[in-house]
Symmetry: C3
Subunit: 160 residues, 3 copies
């Protein structure tokens, strides 16, 4: 099933990257009980933020959508780094999406659909989640999107 997830990621033209480092004095992901939460993921590839600026002005909504996809990809990388295998992911519970928004931009839901659709495309029913979507004025490293992901994993008792 895990290979299935990675093969679906590949079919969408992506590759699961190494889990990005934290941008500060914190850890990128933590497991407690049978829950996982990631730190806020930025649209980082190979150490660089690849989508910067305010959506709706400096960059287009469709680029925001692409940025949100990369954030979701990075969140999956964190989750895999944490539990080793996507088989153990029972459900993506929640994503918290922050969209770096130009004045008057109200398309935060469309931007974050980039992440939401990606998670369902690669995880199926297990990828369905709740969501918050807010527009923020400033963002670390001028990133276009930030995304934190909560997931439920199989009980430790079911580890093999």
């Amino acid at each position: 099933m895990s290979n299935e997830v990675e093969s679906k990621i590949a079919k969408l033209g992506f590759e699961l990257p190494p889990a990005p480092d934290a941008v500060g004095f914190y850890v990128p992901v933590v497991k407690f009980g049978n829950l996982i939460v990631t730190s806020g993921q930025l649209p980082i590839r190979s150490g660089n933020v690849v989508f910067t600026g305010k959506v709706g002005d400096e960059i287009h909504e469709t680029e925001g959508y692409d940025a949100a996809r990369i954030c979701a990809l990075n969140a999956l990388a964190q989750i895999k780094a944490c539990v080793g295998d996507f088989d153990r992911v029972k459900q993506i519970i929640r994503i918290e999406g922050y969209v770096h928004s130009a004045p008057g931009f109200q398309g935060q839901p469309s931007v974050l659909n980039g992440a939401s659709e990606f998670l369902v495309e690669v995880l199926g029913e297990r990828g369905k989640h709740t969501r918050t979507a807010v527009g923020v004025c400033e963002m670390p490293l001028n990133a276009a999107v930030q995304l934190a992901v909560w997931a439920e994993v199989e009980d430790a008792g079911s580890e093999t």
Copy 2:
């Protein structure tokens, strides 16, 4: 007790609506273990956002308060849709409030008291919760307020 909750809602002049649909590719509420979290609820009635614009400029703080109440009402609708009965709600744990704020507006706590007071009015002690309150510059659909709610519910073991 559940009818009691709905009768208290009625006394405040409201009616529990059908749980609003998600505004994007996500689900409006999820249960995991004995926790529930809703997606960000907007001040939607019958499919329309009824309070739009920046609080402190385009709309008054008291309208923001009213908007927050409707967000809380919608969150209760999501919770009921998820667990079927308010009897199963043990505690509202947390609300995350985002207030669409005009430059210089610092009354986010007063606005969100609309949600906080409503939850305690209808759920009593079970409605008491922690809160985050931030001012944001842009909001999906130009909504005045967005509210996500976490609740603890009775263990599945106590289901009848």
Copy 3:
């Protein structure tokens, strides 16, 4: 171990304050199962917000760092008020940081390192956490930083 935490706080030149009151109609901290979450903590000392304004303009990034430390200190006060003893804190899971940001300010991670480093300095490995870091345009009471903290505590079963 708890005295050790408070003595480390003292070595950094701070003293654990009484847990600050809520700034509105909510509670400052809640425990559910073996988790705790605090409400958004502001840089309050003795009832006053001591760092106000937008970081990167009205106040300097280093003052934002100091503000974030006080938010973390207040969060620890809430956690102690909730569980009585830092011995019971198993892990700081997550901090949610909101930085009141001037236009163009992108140093939210540096500001929030004030909280992150403080938590690790006083709690060691148990203080390591995930983080979200966003820039917001307006803040309750004009505070420079707001910080909510999630922690995992020992199971009630281990209570003595």
